[in-house]
Symmetry: C2
Subunit: 213 residues, 2 copies
């Protein structure tokens, strides 16, 4: 067996140092560096920094929303599972409606996916909320459609749907017209629940692993 690093603080320090060495962060406002660092750390790909679309105020808007108690709306259970609860500044609710018993029937009635149907059940919670999408392009598309129809607006959209059908397109739609909502999104096919959770964790707490080192 080869030797390996076993100290959590050293692992975080080496990891964040690699991001600083290899990723191109200079085009981002400095307040966004913890968010970008955590996104890269979650996927092991420094090159995603070059394909992030964002509104410059997204980190501050997300942090303020969470401190004010805003709920976090996730498109799937994996995103919810990746949110570090002890980082949340106001014991914020983490809400996933994908497995709500009404979702399957509602999907059939609106002619869309279960992930899209689940977004409609966010309505009582979404004004000023943090939305984290880490799986389904149809959830992001349908959210934007609903906002166009007068659905309440969240404070922030974290756009990380993944895959070959609609992921790149839904994030391009968000970046082209964010409907006045602060956002960050990874252009293209890549994404995933780990990035969506990492973005929430960064908005909640930055990089506490550094100061706690």
């Amino acid at each position: 067996m080869r030797p390996y690093e076993k100290d959590p603080a050293a692992i975080y320090a080496q990891s964040f140092a690699t991001v600083a060495d290899e990723a191109r962060l200079d085009r981002f406002p400095s307040q966004m560096h913890p968010l970008i660092t955590r996104l890269i750390h979650a996927c092991g790909m420094v090159e995603i920094a070059d394909r992030l679309a964002f509104s410059p105020g997204v980190s501050e808007a997300g942090h303020i929303a969470l401190r004010g108690g805003a709920p976090i709306l996730c498109d799937c259970e994996m995103v919810g599972a990746g949110i570090i609860r002890r980082y949340l500044p106001a014991g914020n609710d983490v809400i996933v409606t994908l497995n709500d018993p009404r979702t399957l029937d509602h999907a059939k009635s609106i002619g869309n996916t279960r992930s899209a149907a689940a977004v409609e059940f966010w309505e009582p919670h979404i004004a000023g909320a943090v939305v984290a999408i880490g799986n389904a392009p149809t959830a992001l598309f349908h959210l934007l459609d609903l906002i166009d129809q007068g659905f309440p607006k969240p404070a922030v959209i974290l756009g990380f749907p993944v895959g070959f059908v609609g992921a790149a397109e839904s994030k391009a739609e968000l970046a082209a017209n964010p409907r006045g909502v602060d956002f960050v999104a990874l252009r293209g096919r890549k994404g995933g629940s780990a990035m969506a959770s990492a973005a929430v964790n960064a908005l909640a707490a930055g990089l506490p692993e550094v100061s706690n080192g």
Copy 2:
């Protein structure tokens, strides 16, 4: 708003067709194609096919283990959250010990991470189990170390730790010496819980989205 595909069956069909068109699958045994397809589908990166290390019998070994009721041991909650329970052929247990109350103290006593310490609590379950690692390199390293010390062997290791410190190295160690255990692992820094869950789902059920159209 641009138009987008809303039919789940069409989304799966287009997605799997993209994998078939773009990914290089010919070096894999045909029984592994559903596994590789699901891995690629989970991350949106066809190029990972070129960096997968594997034992040729991994799909069959995993399928047999799960049909026989083997538990699934995960290194973090996100991996567990991504496993589609209705696909599991024997109501298999999904076990995550990372947040076991003993883990933090045990990590200190062994001088390793919480993720590594949590692996030791797999001992009563691991003989013949399916191990899915989607986050922590130290969990994979420590598991291999424990096997070298006589720990019971799982049937299959799904190796997808991610990141800059130990991820590539732990998967290289597994691929160089899998200790007689069937395995699949993505070489390099990339990985993640979505891939680890996808691998479990493939071992459990292949690609039922195709036949269910």
